[in-house]
């Protein structure tokens, strides 16, 4: 084995796993999270940091494509583990660990795969697994013959038979190209454009001549368009998809955000593979487990790692029915959350909803207040559930994901994440939709 073998064995002890949850397969995901921590492994936040890609459940066509793209982005040595049920988690992770040690296999893998980063032509918004790369490679695309109709998910609908030779960028929305919006280019005509009279809108001494009339960088990446920001100043608009594969994010939810700086000025929500493609999941999760999971996500996003770990332990104890451990963990979670004034100051004022706001968005009463209020009430409900001391208060419904865009518009990115995590979103919208439909 020698040195590289020893290095590999040492490395496998610190494996990082990118967990992809197919909507509905919460139980498998939680089991994976539980088991990888027990092995001393950690979850990865991005494909760049991942050694193992753990797909929990059977993804539908859209998510499959995303998963393949995530797989392409993993640096290697890389192992993919398709886990269809909680029962097979252990063996799947064992197999992954064994395969990770197989250095010759990874050497072959590294030689066979593409050597340069590239993005398939039909890249859509969520294409980067929610990681929102600004730069997609459209370099080899032939714009003259490009068929915009076939770009699944791209917002090119209005450009059917567009002739790029003499196109008018002023009306074009390139929203799909790496998420850039061309709409703000002041009616430039790049086909026969006149640089002398062109309004560069602040682009000072930019040299457009080398771009064959297309306003693109050599990588084929479209420029950002502009728009008025909330202070009334002209500012770039960048399109960034959040989800469906993003740490501490509701499974399957995709939020296509238009950003100015890091402020979300517009958003559009959807569910990956639409409603109904969730596949056979284990059914709706016990309420207390879901709440614990949501509390963990919120605490992790707020950056209090000890408290988040506490919520995670409470969740796992509840899941495996260990009531004493669950009660202990929940009590500790409750104390930690209640005592931390820093946490309060961090979450205070995030997505403050008063009675009028609740009515306007059609939200249930337990969403009232800011993220911190919702956190406290959630922990309180978990306590009631876990302690069994009082009857469970009647659940007055979760938050439908369709209202999320209205709620987060105008917030900056970090607050958007906290706001989404603080809401009692229907955890598995696809499954729920099937159930109700």
């Amino acid at each position: 084995m020698g040195l590289s073998g020893a290095l590999a064995r040492l490395a496998v002890r610190a494996t990082r796993v990118l967990v992809v949850e197919v909507p509905g397969h919460w139980a498998t995901r939680m089991e994976v999270e539980h088991q990888l921590l027990r092995r001393g492994w950690r979850p990865a936040w991005t494909p760049a940091d991942a050694d193992v890609l753990a797909v929990c459940g059977v993804p539908g066509p859209e998510l499959s494509e995303l998963v393949d793209r995530l797989w392409e982005q993993m640096p290697g040595p890389r192992v993919r583990a398709d886990i269809t049920s909680p029962g097979t988690v252990g063996s799947a992770l064992d197999a992954a660990a064994a395969l990770l040690l197989d250095t010759p296999h990874h050497r072959t893998d590294a030689q066979e795969r593409a050597q340069e980063p590239e993005i398939p032509e039909d890249a859509d918004h969520g294409g980067h697994g929610g990681m929102g790369h600004g730069g997609m490679d459209h370099g080899e695309m032939d714009h003259g013959e490009m068929d915009h109709g076939g770009h699944g998910g791209m917002d090119h609908s209005g450009h059917g038979g567009m002739d790029h030779g003499g196109m008018d960028h002023g009306e074009m929305d390139h929203g799909g190209h790496g998420g850039m919006d061309h709409s703000g280019h002041g009616g430039m005509d790049h086909g026969g454009m006149d640089h002398g009279e062109m309004d560069h809108g602040g682009h000072g001494g930019m040299d457009h001549s080398g771009h064959g009339g297309m306003d693109m960088a050599p990588g084929g990446i479209a420029l950002a368009g502009g728009g008025e920001d909330r202070d009334g100043l002209e500012m770039d608009v960048l399109h960034l998809p959040l989800g469906p594969v993003l740490p501490f994010w509701p499974a399957g939810l995709v939020l296509r955000c238009s950003l100015q700086g890091d402020v979300v000025v517009d958003a559009e929500a959807s569910v990956v593979d639409g409603a109904g493609a969730g596949g056979p999941g284990p059914g709706p999760a016990p309420a207390a487990v879901v709440w614990c999971d949501q509390v963990m996500a919120l605490l992790a996003l707020a950056g209090v790692e000890d408290a988040a770990a506490c919520a995670r332990r409470a969740r796992d104890a509840l899941l495996c029915g260990d009531e004493d451990a669950a009660r202990d963990a929940v009590e500790r979670l409750d104390r930690t959350v209640r005592r931390s004034w820093l946490l309060r100051s961090s979450l205070r004022g995030v997505l403050l909803l008063d009675r009028a706001g609740l009515e306007r968005h059609g939200l249930p009463g337990h969403c009232r207040g800011d993220a911190h209020d919702r956190l406290l009430s959630r922990v309180e409900r978990i306590r009631a559930e876990a302690g069994g001391t009082e009857p469970t208060p009647a659940e007055d419904g979760g938050v439908p994901w369709a209202v999320v865009p209205d709620l987060v518009t105008g917030l900056e990115l970090a607050s958007v994440r906290l706001a989404v995590a603080s809401l009692d979103l229907d955890p598995h919208p696809a499954v729920q939709a099937v159930g109700h439909g």
């Binding site: 600004g134 730069g135 790496g178 850039m180 809108g201 602040g202 682009h203 000072g204 001494g205 930019m206 040299d207 080398g210 960088a217 050599p218 990588g219 990446i221 479209a222 420029l223 950002a224 502009g226 909330r230 202070d231 009334g232 002209e234 500012m235 770039d236 960048l238 100051s345 205070r348 004022g349 105008g410 900056e412």
Partner: protein, 187 residues
Amino acid sequence: MLVGIVFWGLAVVAVAAGAAVFVVDSMARATYALALSFIAVGVQILLLGQSYLGIITILMMVMEMAVMAVYMVMFMGMNPALMPMDMTHGKKTAIGASAGVFVLLAAGALLVPWPERRGAPPEDLTRALGLEIMGEKMLVMAVVGPVMVATIVAGVVLAAHRTRYDRLGDDLRRRPADDPQPGGVGR
């Protein structure tokens, strides 16, 4: 000898990095090429024995370039796509002006009869430098600082379209203030 070589090497780096500002095709690279140029000059000042001036040059310039990169990207309106762009602008005037200034300064450096060194440098150079710059003019310096800060603050206040009445209401009693982005203190 070694110091001499390093000094001239740094001089080449400084000039080359300065030229690179106009050659590279990305704002980030131009900005940090300029930073590199300033760092080389800062180290040269260090080699001249003026440690305070040298280090403070590096400190100020790196900080300034970091902030400048922000403003450049902000005002030029660029996405992270690293759009290549020509970093020159108004070429004829600029070349004329810079050539003129260069000739003037170089001629000055070569033609002015530089004084011979008298005496030895003081023991504590930083202190001597401080006294030389500030000593006689402490009052002026003490006034100029606050005036500059006040100018900056006044400029921002005049430029912002929101006033305290927008924040705190017509009777200035609204608490907490109504801000598009609330701060962390809760004023």
